[in-house]
Amino acid sequence: MNAHQTNTSKQGNNGKLKIALAGNPNSGKTTLFNALTGLNQQVGNFPGVTVEKKSGSTTLKGGDRQSIKVELTDLPGAYSIYPKSLDERVQCDILVNTTHDDHPDLVIYVADASNLKRSLFLCTQLIDLGLPLVLVLNMMDLVEKEGDNIDHQELEKELGVPVILMSARSSMGLDELKTKMLGEIGQSQKRFIDEAEIETPVIRKIQKIENVGVYQAFQLASNYALLSDERVKAEIEKIVDESRFNALQYQRQETLARYKKINLLLTHILRHGPEGQTKLTQKLDNILTHKVWGFAIFLGVLFMVFQAIFSWSEYPMMLLEEFFVILSTKLKSILPEGVLADLLVDGVLAGLSGILVFIPQIALLFFFIAILEDTGYMARVSFIMDKMMRKVGLNGRSVIPLVSGVACAVPAIMSARTISNWKERIITIMVTPLMSCSARLPVYTLLISLAVPSKTVLGFLNLQGIVMMGLYLIGFLAAIGAALVLKWIIKARERSYFIMELPVYRAPRWSSIGLTITEKVKLFVFEAGKVIIAVSIVLWVFSSYGPSSKMQAIEDKYSTEQAAAQYTPEEIDSRIASEKLEASYAGLFGKAIEPVIRPLGFDWKIGIALFTSFAAREVFVGTMATIYSAGNEENTTSIREKMRAEINPGTGEKQYNLAVVFSLMIFYAFAMQCMSTLAIVFAETKSWKWPLVQFTYMSALAYLSSLIVYQVLS
């Protein structure tokens, strides 16, 4: 072992052994990761769906070592050690750079056994790096189906690493893997490539200085720019510059030499059966990427998804809504009257229920997105959409972030990492938040129910569903428009390319889809819930209290005998409540910004909600619930009924008429009202410039569009 491999950081800060899962995209790494750790995470079928680092821990039982807790990291899928996109760089950095915090003690290499040649390419690169490795031949079920035969014992001997047969969709081979892993740690291994083929004076020089193996020296020469150790980086940079080392040419040479050796190896370990069985994928592709049917099916799928989200969730949502009405009435009657009861029911519960009723819709949305990714259909969508996307400065791969943006812009923006071209990636990031995310869904649902009747048109279509789909469509069109503008503004840094694999179609893995939905809903409830409870409490305080002189004046006004003669006691209570809300701090704030939003048709109550929505858009519903609860002692009607009954004091007509509702929906469709999105854009672009640009252009777009909608409709 050499100096680089025996460094102290290997066992990490907590002393746990580190194991990394590596492999090509779509090799089933993530499914194996789930099986080993039981940790929930997204499993997709699109190349490069694992764009972020995911870790979990598992316990291994080994003879004399007894049970040892190890830390597992699921690396992003890659085809080689030479990075070409951001997520491949993550993988390269961790594996080549021995001083990296996540540099593993052992690599589990997951190979798609039905495509052995290409899988072995990266595998043998890792072996040559001197990384202890266990090779998992995954998807053995496919190999058997095709009638191929792999001599895995011979493969084991040739590579010098344990080979385990597995089919990640069943649990075959899992125990064998668990017992063999520990034995491999710290094992020095054979090298695969002929080191003489890549050895040059430059490599020898680096080897001498850094005290590393031939292939490691070769990697240092190719990838030194990634190193975090500044001293080593400077040294290698000097050597490389002096000798005019042409990394690309050497990498090409290495690739050819390596494949030559792999081909040779395969001639005696792989026996092909009769013609393969990829025919089903071919037949499906003939339809799904067809000139006419391809687009028609894609639109049809989107349409069905939205119809299903809207109609399937109607009944469970109604039940939840009723449940919360009953709960708040019950709580009011049980709890002793006072500030605490008001805070709990009108503040916390009102805000929380406003959001929890949307769980059915959010679960359905994530369900459909997970299926589309898991089956491999999403990759075909990229394929048929690339040309169109390119016209507006995007890439076929931008379809994934855009479609995922319908769920949540935060993971969607992260998935844009698979786009290797900087300009296309930035444009994708900038326009993705225009896609209507699940946080807007509660807002849309509430507003649509106020202004659009629930009736059936053309025999089977729900009118509310159509308006909903229209809003999503407007978001999409705005994203395309914005992309087109950005295409002219942003200067390109490098050429764009679109080379990716079309994976074989597979049946969705239901258990992993189930995990995905559970995880996303949990995240939504807890993450959004935290913010919503906090905002609800603050709001309740601000909308229940105000300058004391004014509040007292209202009490005094209605405690006169004249008032008592004029109104019934109920009327007095209701008048006091609504006048108090108007005089409260929240009311004062809303009034202060009213002149600015008045042209859009918004009153001061909406003003409060626009402000609180910046924490998260769905807070709009909670805010409305809180505002109307604070202004109304009766808690037996739902927020929807309360808003429907609201009268505009100026016109005497309904406050939430068609013009206001549509103006508000357009505002929510376009405005950048999400702190988390701005934070992730900052993290992904490493600059405040892009989140600022995004916030400014989206706000301007929202204001102008709402202005036009309201002025035209009213």
Binding site: T289, D386, I499
Partner: protein, 73 residues
Amino acid sequence: MLGIGEIGVIDSFEDEELSLKFLEMGCLPGETIELERIAPMGDPIAIRVGKSSLCMRKAEAAGITVKFVENGR
């Protein structure tokens, strides 16, 4: 350039930048490729190399020089 269903053998790469990417994905000189399908709008295309189906834009595919053409179907 191949037509749909036509088979060729990779000869060399004209495109310096992309050649490494192609090589890694298994497009090696001497390897047989088949033009599998063309996207609805005429671009990109999908080719079959070995066991996998790769899609790429026409401009990228133009960087692959194919030596020998026969009609596969």
